[in-house]
Amino acid sequence: MSGDYDVAIVGAGPAGGNAALAAAQHGLRVLLLDEQPAAGGQVWRAKSSAILAAPATEESTAGTSLRNRLAQSSVTHLSGARVWQMSQDDGWKLEVLQGGSSETYTAKKLVLATGAREYVQPVPGWTTPGVIGLAGATALFKQNLRAPGQRTVVCGTGPLVFYVASEIRRLGGTVAAVITPNARMDWACATPALLHRPALLARGALWVADLKLAGVPIYWQHAVTGVDGDTEVTAVEFAPLSHDWTPEASRVVIRADSLCLGNGLIPQIEAAQMLGVPLTHDAHLGGWVPRAAPDGVTDVAGLYLCGDGAGIRGAEAAVHQGTLTGLRIAADMGFDTSTARDSSRALWARAARFGRAMTALSIPRAGLARLSKDDTVVCRCEGITKAGITQEITHGAGSCNAVKSGLRAGMGPCGGKFCQTAVAQIICTETGQDVAQVAPPTARPPLCPVPLDAAAGAFDYHALPIPKPAPL
């Protein structure tokens, strides 16, 4: 058992990092756990230590600031640390994989700030090397200062597609085209929310202006329908979309060696799900979200949630919700933080409204599912196609759990993180259910694959607590 803490926080992004700082300011003993080498999460990911200097960006500045504040605080930050199992007795017990071995940590309160992952709608050829996620591409920029290829097609929803395209240009790559399912009208509808955030609006306008000046074609209300190439991307095919995002018949082919593809972010809910936090479906927050109050409080005693893992509201909202959650925990442990919480809550509400409007741009429409063809692989780990899943459903499997049991979709190393949104979408198509009726599959530990010897730990056979044998 390695030390007892007041608070353990899983995830050192904007939400978890600020929750840690707020709790530590009140003298609480805080353990901050993150699998990355440095704090910052995805949005404020640190550059690789192999890169000595890099031009400052808005994200790198915010990340450096968080990392400096954490370094100067009393927070114990374990980097490269993966929490693989959590349980609750009097307090919380966490099994943490770090450097090939597992340690147990305990804490009175637990915060899950597990962030988001991205959804990629499977299209023919999406598993070709050279295709990466839109959000995945940002990791490449921030950590390695590298563009994904020489000539890249960037396709996706919301603001991320423009950010990624402009970053590729900044890093010296060529953007062959920007393709987005959103219409200009979708952005016009989001303008009221944008007007409250003039700085962000200006930044977005700058990305688009840069692309226009460089002559990069922007295809509104289009989507990538296929990827050519065997061992590497050679060309990308795309088509105009109808209002509900059904691809129309005409196709355009564009030469490229790489493709960034994404359809918005979804909350990483598995940890909360395993601990019994009830889920609700809210498309404006990225789909299935664990139920939590703005100050992080959940139905599970001593468990708090903040940041994108509790609903996609973006980095700024995550900062304030993190602070608010840290302050709430301090209050729950006897400190008066009500004034500070009031101001954090107001800042959170403002940022959350904007984040929600941005998330809304990525809400999948019915036609999106038609981008996947019968022979398109949906479950990458097990190589299961859309047709296989469709057949299982028409034979009576009406839930994500039933499809998982019958076909193994979601039983591979990713644990269903890549395929379950698409599986649920196919269930909806085939059974006519609404996506809010198709619950995600039961989440199973460990939270990440864990080497068996590390999970078992050092042991003496004769000291194993072997119970008495079964009745004869």
Binding site: H395, S405, G406, L452, P471
Partner: protein
Amino acid sequence: MSYDIAIIGGGIMGCATALRLAEGGMHPIVLDQGDLGQGASGVNAGTLSLQIKRVQLMPYALRGHDLWAQMGDAVGFHKSGGYTLAFNAREAELLTERQTLKAEAGAPIEFVSNAQLRRAAPNLTQNVVAASYCAEDGYANSSLTGQYYRGRLQDAGIAYRTHSPVTAIDKTTAFELATPQGTVRAKRLLLAAGAWLKPVAAMLGVDLPVQARVNTVSVTERMPPLMSSVIGHATGLLTMKQKANGTVLIGGGWQGRGTPQDGRGTVASDTLRPNLALAQYAVPSLGSARVLRSWTGFEANVPDFYPLAGALPHVAGAYVLGCVRGGYTIGPYISRLMGDFILGQEPELPLFDPGRAYTKEPT
């Protein structure tokens, strides 16, 4: 519409009994609170081993094995043979005593030398003191239970409803079962709700002394070939097999937490860790495999650890089937017996009276 019999529970017991009853001319309906085969039937480790069956249940297990072999590929059946290992003198004594009794009960179990064992299973630890082997042992893929029985029910034209928990039972001339999808009427009733038997029987005012064990199972990523037979431990606290796809499934009945009434069990690291340690001790090269998933399943039992299989006490027309130790192996067979009993025929082997006193061995 009224059915001849309503069956609460769409696991192996409920579905296989429904199939037998339909063969006998009855019109059953199967109701499950979730999907078919998602309880113990669908989450157990899938071991089909005579070496871990109770002596008194051996005749049932032997016939159960035959039925699994007939189901074949559709349920992922493999007759791989199985070794049971003892790592010290105390375990060797236990192994000898127990496996001798099981062999006498009809299981083709033999004791094997270390040389034989190493030839057959070279990746096993060198620390084996004694081992037994049963060529009849093997496994099936429990994940396929729901898919398999769903197809069988459909082919037989048997009605079933999933996500249909029974919330109240009214007994007048017939049984009236309240479900979120409406009332189901049936002349007879079979309770086959596994770990949920106690609350279901309570709706009829019957107190069944059912408790649930919370068994833990884990699976690794795909590995190169490490073992070709089922591996067990003298105490029964390890079962392990490598599937055709290379994944290794590790069970043995280590206890997680939770109750069926809470609706879910959770894996406990303080029992998961020794379970994995025991697996690694038996096959040291397993240490480098990554564990992808661990889960729990509720295994129902009564105090004497023998089945409930027969008429439900005090309620005419109601029956109960469950709490079978080794229920995955024995389920398809004992369900046939149950079906025959409900059809008014003499079962091939005796059932287990749910009205018995649970303090002594059944006769």
